[in-house]
Point group: C2
Chain length 109, copies 2
DNA sequence: ATAAGCTACCTTGTTATACCAGTTTCTAGG
DNA sequence: CCTAGAAACTGGTATAACAAGGTAGCTTAT
């Protein structure tokens, strides 16, 4: 039980929330997302992100369009669906509830 | 991807934090913990709690003493160790960082 | 033209954690 | 003795993240 594993475990399930949040702000592709997550200090590797994006796509929460790039290979630009927006509202609430729960426990010192 | 699974996934890893927090307040046994978690709306089943307690014990973060009960079989009362207290400080910080990260992402709407 | 290098996407295998659905052990009461 | 209930525990399954790769398209330098 070391601190870095703890961080990983605490982040579990929150990544989906973060990604959906980022995509909801407008068209982005994988590298954009990694940059944003890194800026927020939620370090994520590609091997985590791609399967997650596929899960979101399969669930109908996001969709993507291939777009050419001027500096390299084409990119998959993701956008959120209506269903995704609805789900994001649920995730927002779940996150709020979670904060409340932890708050409740830690305040009892 | 349904809401209840999302809740489970978001909670993952936070349970350890909560349990350690609860034990740090004083001697408790499993049912006490479940009661406290339930009160905080962090629903947990026994099959999750017992392996977690064993992990914490093996890691030296908590210890326990058997105590007799007047109403049934003996109970394992858990207490936090010095090492556990140190680790709890780390977990506190990790949680604060996590809130900051999510805050950073969700505030950019 | 071709090799090198970068960018972008994807996959496979491993690990950790939680859940479900049980089982075992101990105590008290009929 | 047998049942009920409390308390601890276990085995199998699902999910998600990571590590460490691989593949394909595009650009640039020789």
């Amino acid at each position: 039980m070391n601190a870095s594993n703890t961080q990983i475990q605490m982040r579990k399930g929150l990544l989906e929330f973060c990604i959906l949040q980022i995509i909801s702000r407008g068209e982005v592709y994988a590298s954009d997302m990694i940059d944003e997550l890194t800026a927020a200090k939620m370090i994520v590797v590609e091997g985590t992100l791609y399967p997650l994006l596929n899960r979101l796509k399969k669930s109908g929460l996001v969709s993507y369009q291939w777009k050419e790039s001027e500096t390299g290979p084409p990119r998959k630009y993701y956008t959120i669906t209506e269903e995704g927006k609805d789900f994001l509202v649920t995730l927002d609430q779940t996150w709020e509830d979670l904060i409340q729960s932890i708050q409740f426990i830690t305040s009892k010192r």
